[in-house]
Symmetry: C2
Subunit: 518 residues, 2 copies
């Protein structure tokens, strides 16, 4: 069952007036239009269930501290967002209706780029395009990883454990040093930044004593105001390829071979490995292919594969580095894959000076968002993203189980297995037409069912939409939800007035859960 938590009262006029006093009236947005413009654009219900009372857009740490002081006094919860583009997971919208959105997009300074050590220090409002443009404009030979939709905040994406597909694609693992305003207004820096004027804040993550960086990831325990991020030194050469595995059953051997290459760092990035629908949703609309009832039939899928030159599974891999390493890696990859694939794997090679489009560099893009037009109407998607072992037999068995369910309920099977060293982020987009009530209902119940099916295999989600955060948290049930007890305890201590992101990732000790929750 989907579970929600009780809503809270709208912010009072008095509180709004106090917020205007500290950040200026023009940065307190509370009109109907303002509030609607911060709705989740893909919301099932159009958005009112998660509508904010108002939006606050501070520009400095001091302003955030002042806001937090007032929020504590007024008991008014804040929902911090970097740029509010967490599409598929709720975008800018808070779990709890009438929370205030703390929009950090005005805090968009690139505070430092260290070319030699290859890292940067960013405010949370810096977007992927901003950072990319900065590196390009200043001829800085550092590359970045970008997510499928690069519209959002670099730090915000890392803080939600977003992923990319280049060697620096485990975004939250690339964080090195956070500055955080705690719910009591105190400011801490994690890692070596906990020393005043530290010389190593972005060099070494761990600091001394318990490490708190991941405390602020997918978190309601503070507002991150600065984030260090490691960047990739520009390589001499890259080579990229798309490998088309023709049959559904190829998933088994393909995942095993790719995961082994990944684990041995021949492939140094997490590998996208997706179904035909994935490519089709970006390149076309469903009506171009099929207008019948139910999920797209396998025969139509074959047409799509033929038209767009896809396999049943299409994997994208790249290698980057010194020319000798790239050459050797291509050879090893070919030797591992070609005998089973039965055809050659061709790489597109880039060398310094060639056009960037030939390279495997992470270049920000929003093309993936096309997918929401698949069904027509006002489109939307949510992500269902369980984590699995990167083992072929398990991946194939789960794909088979999932596809059967999609076929049964009549939903097109958009899946990607992002293959890491030992895990897979199995990111599925559940696409829908928000104007089709029946379809929306089908997707909601499909999501719930998929969580259960994954749970039965011992797979839990790494991330989820604000509508389903409680439900996902419920599946983390070891020792009668011991994790929840720990989370609640820390939350109550650091945030006694429950003012930062109540309900985020199912952590909500102050709000009784509705029926269906545990």
């Amino acid at each position: 069952m989907q579970t929600t938590i009780d809503e809270i009262a709208p912010v009072s006029d008095g509180a709004l007036e106090r917020f205007r006093g500290v950040i200026g009236a023009q940065w307190v947005l509370s009109s109907v239009d303002d509030r609607r413009s911060y709705h989740d654009p893909y919301a099932f219900d159009g958005g009112p269930e998660h509508e904010a009372s108002a939006i606050l857009a501070p520009q400095s740490v001091e302003e955030i501290q002042a806001i937090i002081r007032i929020a504590n006094e007024e008991k008014t919860p804040l929902w911090p967002v970097g740029r509010g583009k967490n599409l598929g997971y709720g975008a800018a919208a808070p779990v709890l209706r009438n929370s205030l959105i703390l929009d950090l997009s005005r805090m968009n300074r690139i505070l430092e780029v260290d070319e030699k050590s290859a890292h940067c220090l960013l405010e949370p409002g810096v977007g992927f395009f901003d950072l990319y443009d900065h590196l390009q404009a200043n001829n800085i030979p550092l590359w970045m990883s970008v997510p499928g939709n690069s519209w959002g905040s670099v730090i915000g994406n890392a803080l939600d454990r977003g992923i990319g597909y280049t060697p620096y694609g485990d975004h939250c693992d690339m964080l090195c040093g956070l500055e955080v305003v705690l719910p009591d207004g105190d400011v801490i820096r994690t890692g070596m930044g906990a020393m005043d004027n530290a010389s190593t804040w972005q060099h070494y993550r761990h600091g001394y004593g318990p490490g708190w960086e991941q405390m602020f990831v997918q978190s309601s325990l503070g507002v991150v105001t600065k984030g260090g991020l490691w960047l990739q030194p520009e390589p001499e050469m890259t080579a990229k390829t798309e490998i088309r595995f023709p049959k559904f059953e190829d998933a088994e051997w393909a995942v095993d071979v790719l995961a082994d290459l990944r684990r041995r760092d021949i492939i140094q990035h997490n590998i996208v490995f997706g179904s035909p629908i994935r490519a089709a949703t970006v390149l076309s609309q469903r009506a171009d292919w099929y207008e019948g009832e139910g999920a797209i039939p396998d025969a139509v899928c074959e047409e799509i594969m033929a038209k767009f030159n896809l396999g049943w599974w299409t994997g994208k891999i790249n290698v980057q580095g010194h020319a000798e390493i790239v050459e050797a890696s291509m050879k090893i990859i070919r030797a591992a894959i070609e005998p089973r694939l039965g055809k050659e794997v061709d790489f597109e090679v880039w060398r310094k000076g060639d056009p960037i489009s030939k390279s495997a560099r992470g270049v920000p893009t929003t093309i993936g968002l096309q997918a929401v037009n698949w069904y027509g109407g006002r489109g939307g998607h949510i992500g269902f993203a369980p984590v699995m072992p990167s083992k072929g037999a398990e991946a194939l068995a789960f794909a088979r189980k999932m596809k059967a369910i999609y076929d049964e309920v009549g939903q097109d099977y958009y899946t990607t297995f992002t293959i890491g060293r030992r895990h897979i982020n199995n990111v599925n987009l559940l696409l829908y037409d928000r104007d089709d009530v029946e379809m929306v209902a089908r997707v909601k119940s499909l999501f719930t069912r998929l969580v259960d099916v994954a749970r039965a295999e011992g797979y839990a989600e790494y991330r989820g939409h604000i509508d389903f955060m409680d439900m996902i948290a419920d599946t983390y049930d070891f020792n009668d939800h011991a994790l929840r007890r720990l989370n609640d305890k820390v939350k109550k201590t650091l945030d006694p007035n429950n003012i930062i992101a109540p309900g985020r990732n199912g952590i909500s000790p102050y709000h009784p859960r509705k029926e269906g929750a545990e």
Copy 2:
């Protein structure tokens, strides 16, 4: 100033009797000899300052839970150790005299080794030799990283952020999934293990919501009872070499070149780069070279370098993987180093089937412990280990400053720069003869001075001896010790009776600090 916290009363006979009741009288060790055998063997004062009241050696999670219940009722602090071999940092001894040592060395089961995904699940009593023997005896093609002294616990070392010198050498980064008994007796599992019967506990570290794994590293917030650890798939080939950089000043270019190769993953491990005294202390005694006053003169250092075929800096590097990659990497390393070095870099190559001694595999060893015999008498050492940026100019300037201080006070300069992608762990061993009162006093005051010198450069220690934990924590002073306020708050919440490792890493909210502390 060195700071200590007030001591506590010895454990009561009543409490000991209760502990005997839950784990058996034979596993409660409290005789004078028992307690002495758990002294820090390198303690400046011989050990009584940090003597435990008794030692408890449980064998199961349930026994630990029972112990913790009693400890809470009796207000008796516990100092958990894996195998108690944290030499240079206090070994098994607690910060707070009269704490009880919770010796987990009987919990020494290797619970799982997953050959395909390359990870294992260990109890904290499993030593490096145990795991190595298990892999060898069962012909499991997985390799491990080992620290300089491999006498200790695999999980314990990772939990203290120990380091090794192979691709899996950032030990705490290789942890994936912990089981922890919290100070209230509750049992949690971190990451995906927070789902009951999770299939991915050792596959994906982060879980859902805030990540708590690093909460239990260098920590007093729980007792780790199981730890997942990633292992390295056996490579096809390795090549290793020792590079001798002849001059002191070579540190600048050598660090820059090595760090760049490290950052680009041509060298896939943190690189040991050490002074001549480092090698000499293992291979000889000081009296073999010099019996005069003061630090070993530079001229004698040159004799040592000649005799043992050392540079002023000697770096050990290795490459591991597919043969083509190893060949390419050797070529790249040679091209980067030979022109500046002015001579060839020769690699020793190992291929599957060759004797292990030729390989770059991590093989447990305790030979490094020879170093404590350097000055003769009953030897000891403590580690002074600031973290620095991996930049040549900074490394050279700091080495110069350090060596001048060592020369001034008359201590031999044993240093290693363990060069990572962006940081250096500058591990210095301060060696001494515990029977030489003057030398011990000199080392103590040298340590204190070095902390200050590092602090002035913005460098903080990543780890330190129990005698100096408060002092090191004091240097983490951003925003008037904001980190301490956070640590204290979490500590008080999770451990209201202060029963787990009080004083660990300077976290000690219940004990007034003595003069000199802040």
